[in-house]
């Protein structure tokens, strides 16, 4: 048995109070010469010895009452013998509790934080008192603190009890390093680190792989409240003689975590320049999905780089939620309209008309060129080309292929060859709202395009070397009306209509110019373009990226390699991986360094094949690692726990008090 509040035993001297009172009462016995002495003698039924015994019994009961009360307040813990039998319980262990605010999100009348507290308490209780243990969490100022047991596990329990969620990001990387340092000073024997976290991706971003030289078991525990959605980020491990990775409902998660709940994350991102808010957006990230933050703003013309600050209304960042970034500002693109027919003329006028009324701080230059002049015009990758193909054509001209391969975005207005020119006979059937071009129409739905009429076609491929075809608008007759085609590093946007409104009324509708604007903006943000291509000064939607994006290569055991891109998210960066089907060890290569990569996830889609157990053992022939699932905690391990002891003590205390009352009020 040991006690959670051992310091209450400083009150033990209070037990002497009844004894002292008894002595004091004895010393102050008064003597009275009483006239009716004979009546007193007759009234005394019991003899003095009886009362002495009675007083002694009362004294013992009063002392027992105070003692039991003190023991009760000290919260005794009675450990079942079987609770100490576990092999792991003898190992030096560090408990790490992530107490960021995301751990306190309520879930089924509990929270990951509360569940973690309970589990850690049970773990500590199951340990021998002499087992070196430590507890790491954040204090109220967001700094990591480490509490060592030093033979008194109550220290850990008190620290655990006094821990509360704090509005800071939990630095798991540093906490594990701190745990490793603690374990360093212990004798050379197996050691454990138990990490309780909901494992937000933000805990892991921009962290190097962790090297654990002295840890033999690293257990990631996603609390039960995170069932089905908990995720372990990633961790690099190397130079470890033997290590066991245990996990429970944890995974490497390729998507934004929603605190383990099925509800979407809601946050507000504010973009400010020179401490002035210029844009903000409300973002809602659905569970298991990736969100890119999109802001609209106008950047000043006179700056090449913007020092910007992003603020997020997000639980883990409620105190310092700023993210400083440098956004490059580059010259505006040029718009080229290539074509000889009325479509090109119509398109040129439309663009001039649009930009004149757009209110933009600067209007990009618009050039109209004939198909004969076009090959001679110097068009670079930062420019945007509109190409009006008025006649059926199965192969684009060579200059188009050339600039497309160079990375230029080309929008083609293409009149199919087999349609009745003046008789549009169908309308838009489906819209790809997932595409950035039509994302803004999500709320309006198909109603935004219900007035659009178009002509179906049996269409031939415009290009034969396309690598990917993305349908954007499809007619009711299931023929494409707008497509995106990837052609080498360039991009084609094909509209199966002319720009004069003959085969479709799209260009005459009120959605055409906004669509054209969106098309221009999207063309600017294509990943195929170099960073110097981007411009922000015409005011539009952009994808925000930090100034130092990075990528790493994921090398599988079978030799296949995948590139992992950094993607901006609600914290800073995260590694955007693809789903991995099973737990295993992998190698992570970054900047010519290779490290071991361990994870465990539930089955998911993907084509990455993890290492199996034999492959893992091949990598550690001398001391093969062990992969095991975490054992379930249960109340039975506690045996006769603190609850039973407290109840018994409370019962004894009440019984002693009642007995004292009965004896004190009877007798004589």
């Amino acid at each position: 048995m040991f006690f959670l509040n051992f310091w209450y035993f400083w009150f033990i001297p209070l037990c002497a109070v009844p004894f002292l009172l008894n002595l004091w009462k004895r010393r102050r016995t008064i003597s009275v010469a009483f006239p009716y002495f004979s009546f007193l003698m007759e009234s005394q039924i019991r003899n003095v010895a009886f009362f002495k015994i009675l007083n002694l019994l009362l004294l013992i009961l009063r002392i027992a009452c105070i003692f039991l009360l003190i023991v009760f307040m000290a919260r005794p813990i009675v450990r079942h013998a079987s609770a100490t039998g576990g092999a792991h319980t003898e190992l030096p262990t560090v408990f790490i509790l992530d107490n960021s605010l995301s751990m306190s999100v309520p879930f089924e009348q509990s929270s990951p934080f509360k569940e973690s507290q309970v589990q850690i308490e049970q773990d500590i209780l199951s340990f021998n008192r002499d087992t070196p243990c430590a507890f790491i969490t954040m204090n109220e100022f967001g700094n990591l603190m480490i509490v060592e047991s030093r033979g008194i596990p109550e220290r850990l329990l008190n620290a655990l009890k006094n821990t509360a969620p704090v509005p800071y990001k939990f630095d798991i990387h540093r906490s594990i390093q701190a745990a490793d340092i603690f374990l360093k000073n212990l004798p050379d024997s197996p050691k454990n680190i138990f990490l309780y976290t909901d494992n937000q991706k933000s805990n892991w971003v921009n962290t190097d792989p962790i090297y654990l030289h002295r840890t033999h078991t690293l257990r990631f525990v996603s609390p039960d409240t995170l069932a089905g959605a908990g995720g372990i980020g990633w961790i690099g491990i190397s130079d470890t003689p033997s290590i066991t990775i245990q996990s429970k409902r944890s995974s490497i998660n390729p998507v934004i975590q929603n605190f383990g709940s099925d509800e979407p994350i809601e946050y507000i991102c504010t973009f400010s320049i020179d401490n002035e808010s210029v844009a903000n957006t409300y973002e809602k990230s659905a569970p298991n999905s990736t969100s890119n933050i999109v802001l609209q703003y106008k950047a000043p013309l006179d700056k090449k780089f913007l020092k910007a600050c992003f603020s997020f209304n997000y639980p883990d960042f409620s105190i310092d939620n700023r993210l400083f970034a440098v956004i490059p500002v580059y010259p505006m693109p040029r718009l080229f309209i290539a074509g000889d027919d009325t479509s090109a003329l119509y398109l040129e006028n439309a663009l001039h008309l649009y930009f004149s009324d757009s209110g933009a701080s600067a209007v990009p230059p618009i050039y109209r060129i004939s198909t004969d002049q076009a090959p001679a015009v110097s068009i670079n990758a930062t420019d945007i080309v509109f190409y009006c193909a008025s006649a059926p054509n199965t192969s684009p001209p060579d200059w188009i292929k050339r600039i497309a391969a160079n990375g230029t975005a080309i929008t083609v207005f293409y009149q199919p060859d087999n349609v009745s020119v003046h008789h549009p006979s169908t309308s838009i059937g489906s819209i790809n709202f997932a595409h950035p071009l039509f994302a803004s129409y999500t709320l309006m739905g198909r109603e935004a395009f219900e007035d659009i009429t178009c002509s179906p076609h049996s269409g031939s491929l415009f290009l034969s070397d396309i690598s990917q075809r993305i349908p954007l608008l499809t007619t009711l007759k299931d023929t494409p009306f707008m497509e995106e085609l990837n052609f080498y590093s360039g991009r084609f946007f094909i509209l199966y209509t002319d720009a004069a409104g003959i085969t479709s009324n799209l260009v005459l509708s009120n959605i055409f110019l906004p669509l054209l604007h969106t098309l221009i903006d999207y063309s600017l943000t294509l990943s195929s373009h170099p960073p110097s291509y981007f411009t922000r000064n015409i005011g539009s939607k952009i994808n925000i990226e930090d100034d130092k994006p990075f990528s790493v290569f994921w090398n599988q055991h079978n030799g296949e390699s995948y590139t992992l891109h950094s993607v901006f998210m609600s914290g800073k960066y995260r590694i955007d991986t693809f789903p991995v089907p099973a737990p295993g060890f992998y190698t992570l290569q970054k900047d010519a360094e290779e490290s071991l990569f361990a994870f465990n996830i539930p089955a998911a889609e993907g084509d990455l094949h993890p290492l199996n157990s034999s492959a893992i053992q091949e990598r550690f022939p001398d001391n093969p690692p062990v992969f095991s699932l975490l054992e379930e905690h249960s109340e039975k391990n506690l045996g006769w726990g603190k609850l039973g002891a407290l109840q018994l003590l409370a019962f004894l205390c009440i019984a002693a008090s009642l007995l004292e009352l009965i004896i004190a009020n009877t007798g004589g």
Binding site: I30, V32, F39, L40, G668
Partner: protein, 295 residues
Amino acid sequence: MTLHKYLNPSILAQLQGLELKARLVVEGTVSGKHRSPFKGFSVEFAEHKSYYPGDDIRYIDWKLYAKTNKFFIKQFDEDTNLKTYILLDMSGSMNFGTEMNNKSEFGKFLTVALSYLMLAQRDSVGLLTFTHKIGAYIPPRNTMDHLHYIVTMLEQSTCSGSTGIAKALHYLANKIKRRGLIIIISDLIDRQQNVLSHLRYLHTMKHEIIVLHLVHPDELTLPYKGTVQFTHPERQDNLTTLPDRIRKNYSSRIQSFIEAYEQNCIHEGIDYHRIMTDNSLEDTVLRFIAKRKRY
């Protein structure tokens, strides 16, 4: 000085004008106060007093009327035959209570106050103090100087020994030749039947008997807390006990003891008064006189 201790101005002011009225016919000759069976009994002239309607006209001084044209009543030194005997218990049990409500002190005050009243109405007062044996005895006199003797005697008396009420009554019965008023001031801690039988005997001798039973409030309530060592005031016995545990039992016993005295006295026609020593002396005497006036 000593008399002032017992009869301070406030007590005197309260006692002035009050009269002790004997309920029985005594062998006195004084006019107005006591009806005497003896006629033409006269002694030495003392003084005149103004006549008030109701005064016996036989004692009007006609000579003085002839000189002054006013009626005066002649008064004599021995104008009554009522002899009052006050028996004051001075046993050890009377020495109970604090200075303010000590039973013996209260008894002494009561003795002096009653003596003053009796002497003020020209009655004779005598005093007998007793313990387990007879103490001092002062024969009855009716002069105010006699009060000084009584007070001096009381001052010299101390409480000690056991109580012997029967013995004192027996002694007094042998002393008294004529009927008189006997006032017993005591806590009556004695063998009850023995005391009652002697009281009954005196009563059959046509004496009027007034029993003033002095009771200290602590004797009724036993208000002590914790462990108390009780000692016998008249012997060497002691008892260590918890008053809380015997209070109920004791209270019933003491109540039955006192009530037995009261019932027996009433039954025998003896005037019984329970005097609580926590009351003021003035109140006690006034209440006593008022009660007596009803007869």
